[in-house]
Structure formats: C-alpha cells, structure tokens
Symmetry: C2
Subunit: 328 residues, 2 copies
C-alpha cells in the first residue's frame, strides 16, 4: 500500500479491507497465482436507500453483547428464550447493534444520532470508518438531530478528550429531553448509577449549551424531517417522519430495542425503558401506524441495515427487512 | 484521485464508492467545511461469515428484473401478488438477485458458481468489483464448483470474448448436468429458444472439456464440501453441504428462486424449473431437512447476503435472514 505505483485495483482491495474496521489479515501481494487469500474483514457497514429525493445512508456502529437474563422487565426467561430461538439467535446473550441515519437533501447532510464514539464497548466504535467509507466527511454535516440522550446515541458527537466531531453542525434536541436531563434536581434525585447518565449529557452538550436548539413534537425541524413524540423510553424520546415526494420513512429510534423481541412482543419492556407502560403505549401506537400505512421504517437497534416494513402478526408484529439493493 | 499525495483516507473514500459499481457522483475534495456530500453509491456487495473454520464470502452480482406475469407455472396471478404484497415487494415485477459463494479453507479458495460475467442484464455484472473489494484475485481461485449450467451461474467463468476468468482453477461439475447439456441428441431435440442454453454450455466449457472433473451426489468434492443431489430445476442441479467443526451450512443453489415466493410456497414452480414436480419434491425435502436440523442455509437467489435459517410456517416455510455482523 506504500507504493506510489500501486494500481487503482490494489488500492480498492486495501480499502475494502481497511474500511471494514475488522481487518484480520493483510493482502501483501496481488496477482501471483498462488497467493494466499488472507482477507477476512467485513464489508463496510453502510447501506444507501432513497426516500423520494432524500438519500438515506444507514451507518453501523458495531454491536454490544448483553445477557438475556435481566434484560426484559416483564417477561419470563423461558418466553424470552423462546423468542430468541424463533429468531435463530443465541438463547443466553444478544448482540444489540447500533445504526444511525445520514440524510442527504441536495448539499445538506443531516444526521439522526451519532453512535457510541469512543465511549462504547470494544465491539463498537466503527461508525467513523463506515461514515468515511460511505464517502462523507464529518465537516460536511450541516445538522445533527438527537432522538434522545442515552450514551449510545450522543457520545459520537464528542470524543472522551472533548473533541467536537461535527464542527459545522447545527444541533437539534428534543425539548422534553433537554428539560429532564439538564435539571439539577433530577440529577440529585437519581441513583448513583443513574447520575452518570446525567453527567454524560452535561459532558457532551455543556460546551455548546447556548447553541443547542430544542424542538417539540410534530415540528418539521429540517425540510422533510418531522418530529414524532415517542415518550417512555426516555421522557423526550423522539421518532421522526421522513417525507419526500411519494417516499416516506418512519425512523423509530428506540421505540423498540431488538425487533425479534419487542416488535414481536410489543408489550415487553426492556430495562432501558425509563417508563415501561408509557414505552409500551408509544410502541403499540407507532407500530400500528407503520403497519396500517405500510410505511418503510428504520430502527436504531434493528439488525443492520435496520430498515424494513411492519406487518401485523398475531398479538404482535414482525419486521420484514427490505431487500438489499445494489442500486440505491 | 489522481494526486500522488492523496491520503489513505482519500483513497478509502474513492474506493468505497468505486467498488460499489454504482457511483453516481464523485467526491472531488475533502475536508472543506461546506463541500457537497455527493456520494450516492452502494456499499460493496460482499458479506463474510464463518462456518467452523471455513470463511464464507457471499458475493453479489446485481439483479435482473422480470415481470411477475408468467413467472410461476402453477399459481394464480392473484395469489402470487398476495405473496409479493406480504413481502412488501412490488406486485408487477421482481428483482431476482444473484449471490455466489467464495469459501476459504486455509490457502485454498473455492467458488460455488460464478455469476453472469458480461453476459447478463445491465443491472448485473458487479461480481468482479465485489470479489475484488472483498480482497480476492481471480488468479487465487483454486477450485470452481458449479451447481448447474444455467447462464447466470456459469457465464462468469468465461467472458464473451472467450477469456477464462479463473486461470488456475480446477473445475468441478455435476455428472448428470454434463451428461444432459453436452448430449447432441438433447440439443437437437430442444426448441430453438432452448438450443441457446446448450450452445452456451459448449461456449463456456468447450475449451476445457478434457479438464473438467465430474462429480456424483453425496461426494466430498473439496474437504468440507459435500454434494447433495437436488434435481428438478435442471437434471443435474446440485446443492452442497458445508461442514467444519461445529459449523454447517446447506448451500441450496436454485432449490428455490426468491424465498418470498418459493420458500413460503414450496409447491409453486417457476418457469425456470425444467421438471416442475421433481423440483417441488426436491425443494420440500431440502427445506424440511434444513428446518429440522436448524441448519444455516444459503440461496443463490435470496436477497443479499442470501443466508439465514428455515422455519416451518403453515403449509410452507420462511427464511429468517441472519443478523448482519461486523465481525465475521
């Protein structure tokens, strides 16, 4: 890769592996008849699709593994394991994935959420490599919209050393989310464990607090992107309706965690849902709407590329993934 | 991209778009604050997963669009449209996708099928770009195994100008397939339209006819890869069992065309199935086996990355796609 005379193909090969963020072996020569095929990295984790004239790029930030035990507040372990088995997933632990959206509208580039940055599990943190593999530069981001203030959504905005990752971006946050997490009385009343989340919100947004713009529900915050109140997961948790021409997408954020559990069983509630009953009410309402309108949906924690459609199925729903297309 | 001084990141960005085979816009500058985010290409169409110690790479060769009308020999148009609607697919036309397998076992690289080469629809032909993006070189291929002799499986082996694409590969084909298509009496008896398929088999294999090795069913043709007779689609159509350590995969080839139609409705038969009733019998047998053993499966015509598991569902089955993983 150091040779100036390297052909475009050599560079493509190298880049294919490097951008994967998971290169296990390097290709040291090309074209010899019996070279060892040492490549083992994954393809870059981005996926493009169109919603009308908007170009949406789903960008993966890896995954975090968590035990099934203790994950769902109101379901029996045996039932949860049955749901995992039906989805051909392991019965003891779940890989929760992270997928943000980058939305191009002409020369405007809007992000919804930013991933884990350098604050997540070692199996996360691939967001920037995937964002760059998709052809983007953080300096090009014109707007960042946050769905809510959990660390896996906001930490990509500011590195641990304080670096602001998107220097030119306007920042839009849910009014109710800001009010809750920035309230010192709420922080004081929180458990020691929960205090960390309050402190993290201050770490990320404190340096730009006077520039952050707050939005309410049902507002078109960027042309074609309208907020949908989706409280329960957190007080100000927000979903988004994307609309352009005939195209429509509901970006559900954390309205459900893994669809194999919570789209199938919308009355289950995860430990991350701050108000379980309200989260269930919101979940049923938005899933019903998506199913009735046959709208395309995106979820932050659905398996990459984290987009599909919702079909009613028994007392719950199922997520039917979109067919991958080589032509966005 | 012409600058010798281009950084690795510039090259990665360029390669990410170029390897997509669908670059609609070029990034001409990086790092300026208000550069237009012009990227619109798809991520490279390869996906890696492990079966025991084998590293499998699914490689996409684009898609071909065909009308629903006249596609299924023994189903009512209304029922077919209902199946398409249930899968959130268009009701008039289907994008049939092509996904081959590259299997690494140490320094051996085996392909199962080769895609359309330069002989397919304009929306196909992305195989080589995706194969190279995955870090491979055609000269590294040690073995090519063919499931059957339809053009979308064999044309990638030899370009229209006669070029042999995998110069160092041993070539393995189903004995029954060879016997059928190379028989001059069968070609003479064929319709004018069908004669083209016989002639194409001669075009692809004629120049190496004396080197082609033929296999029967239930043979381990390469360590870890065992043939499974799957006749009906064509006389010698073959599926493959991959086995390594605890890992197992059934590569179903064209045992079904699109799973939304034929995994859901295994008694439907497509116009491509030369012997419809036998294709149905084979399909039910292999789907039953995959469901009972909870084996991972791969299909040539399933949506990319074309791998998942089979669950029984009513009178048919469903394909549950694998959860995309950043770590193969």
């Amino acid at each position: 890769m150091n040779s100036i005379g390297a052909s475009r193909r050599d560079l493509m090969i190298g880049a294919g592996a490097l951008t994967a963020g998971a290169m296990l072996g390097a290709r040291l020569s090309t074209g010899s008849a019996h070279a060892q095929p040492a490549q083992a990295g994954q393809a870059p984790g981005f996926y493009r699709y169109k919603i009308g004239d908007l170009i949406v790029t789903a960008i993966n930030d890896g995954f975090a593994t968590r035990p099934i035990e203790g994950f769902i507040k109101n379901a029996e372990m045996a039932d949860v394991q049955k749901a995992m088995e039906a989805a051909f997933l392991p019965k003891d632990a779940l890989n929760i994935t992270f997928t943000t959206l980058a939305i191009q509208d002409g020369d405007k580039l809007t992000l919804i959420d930013t991933g884990n940055g350098d604050s997540g599990a070692p199996t996360t943190g691939t967001w920037m490599a995937n964002f760059e593999a998709a052809g983007f530069d953080p300096a090009d981001v014109s707007t960042v919209i946050f769905s809510h203030f959990h660390g896996d959504h906001i930490n990509g905005f500011r590195l641990k050393d304080g670096t602001a990752v998107f220097p030119n971006a306007q920042v839009l946050v849910p009014e109710a989310e800001w009010a809750f997490w920035m309230d010192d009385a709420n922080m004081s009343a929180a458990s020691e464990q929960a205090k960390g989340a309050f402190q993290n919100v201050r770490r990320v947004f404190g340096p730009i607090a006077d520039k952050v713009e707050r939005f309410g529900p049902e507002k078109e915050v960027v042309p074609g992107i309208t907020t949908i109140a989706a409280p329960g997961h957190t007080p100000g948790h927000t979903a988004f309706a994307l609309s352009s021409g005939e195209g429509a997408l509901m970006a559900m954020s954390d309205t459900t965690n893994h669809p194999a559990l919570f789209v199938r069983n919308p009355d289950w509630t995860a430990v991350f849902d701050m108000d379980g009953p309200l989260a269930i009410e919101t979940r049923r309402k938005l899933l019903d709407r998506a199913a009735e309108d046959r709208m395309q949906v995106a979820f932050y924690h659905a398996p990459f590329p984290a987009t599909g459609h919702i079909a009613k199925d028994g007392s719950g729903f199922q997520l039917v993934p979109v067919q991958w297309s080589a032509a966005p």
